[in-house]
């Protein structure tokens, strides 16, 4: 087996790991290699922090295992290798009338990563989380390969979905696709004046796909203003976009300085006319708004960035307001801030979603950013909410204690599946997740 000494990062690039990485191109190679050397796996490394990193250890790059294994056009059941990007899966089947029921904000995320982080989409309030539509998982635990379903191994299943790769390497999975009319989306965008208006808009929205962009630099009366996007899938002809842009080099530090971001956000807010607008777009645009700009993480410069994402219970709106005030006055927020109302759906013990409001904000990796994120993490904790491990690169073990009530159950299942802790990653070590402090 060939091991390559690599230095690699998550999407935020603020956390770095060095170690030996193997990149099997065939399933037989993956099984053979894992029987010899157990190590965690990663896909496209679109998680922001260190959940996909194993510094000074070994890891498997799954991106070459990206094939459709079987597809049943009658039922919409599909089995794919874990390294397949979810956007590719969508593109392969949307024009045949089937679509993954849950898609995260980037089509580059792999199916294995979507399961390990139990990702959610803009339709979480309708369809729940990704793991809820997975029907079988092939899990390689060293020399042993197991095909599990929610019925055949309920405990291991719940520990694997949203389980951060700690029960073994996800080699392939069966998913139930959802029928769809076509591969276009009717998208309505309208301006929202502030946080309260946002919450009302979420309550009144009846569309399948609903998400809010927020101007995280806004303070005072404008606090929480933004744009609400509501979409429904429709039929039509998808003229595939051919012009993919790329950020060719690391941007200078002033590119996302406070005044530039404030001006950008003002313009972005005004992009949508005051009376709103409706348009029809290929589904990839509203699903994956940033995928058309490759390497957009370079906009944050060499030092990279952090993303903070939390969910707080529905009745904790005041905490949300405090968070937005803290972010707005920090002068550190970037143009990327997203608010969404979540339903109850979740697939595993450590799945992020819970009923409430989820807020995601990017921060350039500058002085003060980690302190602000740390404060926000404490606020989420005190509000009975939780942070999203796929995004985190800052929290400490003490800060997340109690956020995930099933953490002890998960830790027990994981200890059984991987007693030697061979699948641990940097995030799992940093947060002491496998030590099981969830009941604290």
């Amino acid at each position: 087996m060939a091991w390559n000494k690599l230095t690699y990062t998550g999407w935020g690039r603020a956390r770095v790991a060095s170690g030996l990485v193997a990149r099997p191109e065939r399933r037989s190679t993956l099984s053979r290699d894992l029987a010899e050397t157990r190590a965690p796996a990663f896909g496209m490394r679109r998680s922001y922090g260190d959940v996909a990193l194993n510094d000074e250890g070994r890891a498997y790059d799954m991106t070459r295992l990206d094939r459709v294994i079987a597809f049943d056009p009658a039922t919409g059941g599909v089995e794919v290798e874990a390294g397949m990007p979810i956007g590719d899966l969508g593109r392969a089947f949307a024009n045949k009338g089937w679509i993954p029921p849950v898609m995260p904000g980037t089509g580059f995320a792999t199916v294995g990563g979507c399961i390990a982080n139990d990702v959610h989409g803009k339709n979480h309030h309708v369809m729940g989380s990704f793991g809820q539509h997975v029907t079988a998982i092939t899990l390689i635990q060293g020399a042993k390969t197991r095909k599990i379903t929610p019925k055949s191994a309920p405990d291991l299943w719940q520990a694997t979905v949203g389980g951060l790769g700690q029960t073994g390497v996800i080699a392939s999975a069966k998913l139930q696709l959802m029928p769809c009319k076509g591969d276009m989306m009717v998208l309505t965008e309208r301006r929202i004046d502030g946080l309260d208006a946002f919450l009302v808009a979420f309550d009144e929205s009846r569309t399948d796909y609903t998400v809010g962009w927020m101007d995280a630099t806004a303070t005072g009366a404008r606090l929480g203003r933004g744009i609400l996007e509501e979409g429904e899938i429709t039929s039509g002809i998808n003229k595939s976009r051919d012009a993919v842009k790329s950020v060719p080099f690391n941007a200078p530090s002033w590119a996302l300085s406070a005044p530039v971001v404030r001006v950008f956000n003002e313009l972005y807010f005004r992009r949508v006319p005051a009376k709103g607008r409706t348009s029809v777009k290929p589904i990839t645009e509203p699903f994956f708004p940033l995928d058309a700009i490759h390497n957009w993480n370079r906009l944050y410069g060499k030092r990279g960035f952090h993303q903070f994402q939390c969910v707080v219970p529905m009745d904790q709106v005041e905490v949300l307001r405090m968070m937005l005030t803290r972010i707005g006055t920090s002068g550190l927020a970037s143009p990327l801030a997203v608010l969404k109302k979540m339903g109850t759906g979740r697939g595993g013990y450590m799945s992020f979603p819970m009923e409430g409001y989820t807020l995601a904000v990017d921060f350039p990796n500058r002085d003060g950013a980690e302190e602000v994120i740390s404060e926000l993490t404490d606020m989420a904790h005190d509000a009975g909410g939780r942070i999203y491990f796929a995004k985190d690169s800052v929290a400490s073990a003490a800060q997340i204690a109690g956020m995930y009530p099933d953490q002890d159950t998960w830790a027990k299942a994981v200890a059984k599946a991987d007693p030697e802790r061979t699948f641990e990653t940097d995030l799992v070590r940093r947060l002491g997740l496998r030590d099981g402090t969830g009941a604290a």
Partner: protein
Amino acid sequence: MQQSWIILGATSSMARAMARRLAKEGATLFLCGRDMDDLAATAADCLARGAATAEALPFDARDTNTFAEIIERATTEEGVINCAVFVGSMPEQSDIDATPALIAGVVTDSHTGPATFLHMLAPHIEARGQGTVVGVGSVAGDRGRIGNYVYGSAKAGFATYLSGLRNRLTRAGGHVVTVKPGFVDTAMTWGIEGMFLVASPDAVAGDILTAVAKKKNVIYTPFFWRYIMLIIRHIPEFIFKKMSI
């Protein structure tokens, strides 16, 4: 008209990328190689992506008995029969130095095996009056270097064979594209130190299909390898023999 493609060495990442692109165009695919499980997986993948049919067939460059069945199967299809050759093997030079008998295998995998297959296929292309052969050589075939001259010499032989085949098939309406990839990000190069300007298999596949459409004769991919190799070929031998690039 329906396009059929025989892909030899279809387990390689370049071949897999090309098969996917052909699948999107609705081609009929015969994926040939030794790892039948892997070929079956690629076939299923190509079917899901739009291939008219995709079948896995056993092919071993060192066993000419496996050749006829592939040609028989492919020629039952109507339309145009094309063939892309991705096979080749490159043992460590130090292993070859220790065991010179390995040379025969390298030459069979990279030159005489595929040439024998193409020779069996050529009359069918001539009979149909059309069809393209894509032969993947290597920039290593442009000049013998201390690091991999056995592999390089086999690829050089294959390139010469392809130019002769081009001469022959052109008269009958067929065409031959010789492809010389530089460093490609494959299992073969993973972990090798000193790789630079590495191209993705998908980019190489895109270049190959453009060359097929435009009926190019010899392409380097990515294109700039043409200039790199132009320089390397023109280094005088009395200097080159002391270099280890």
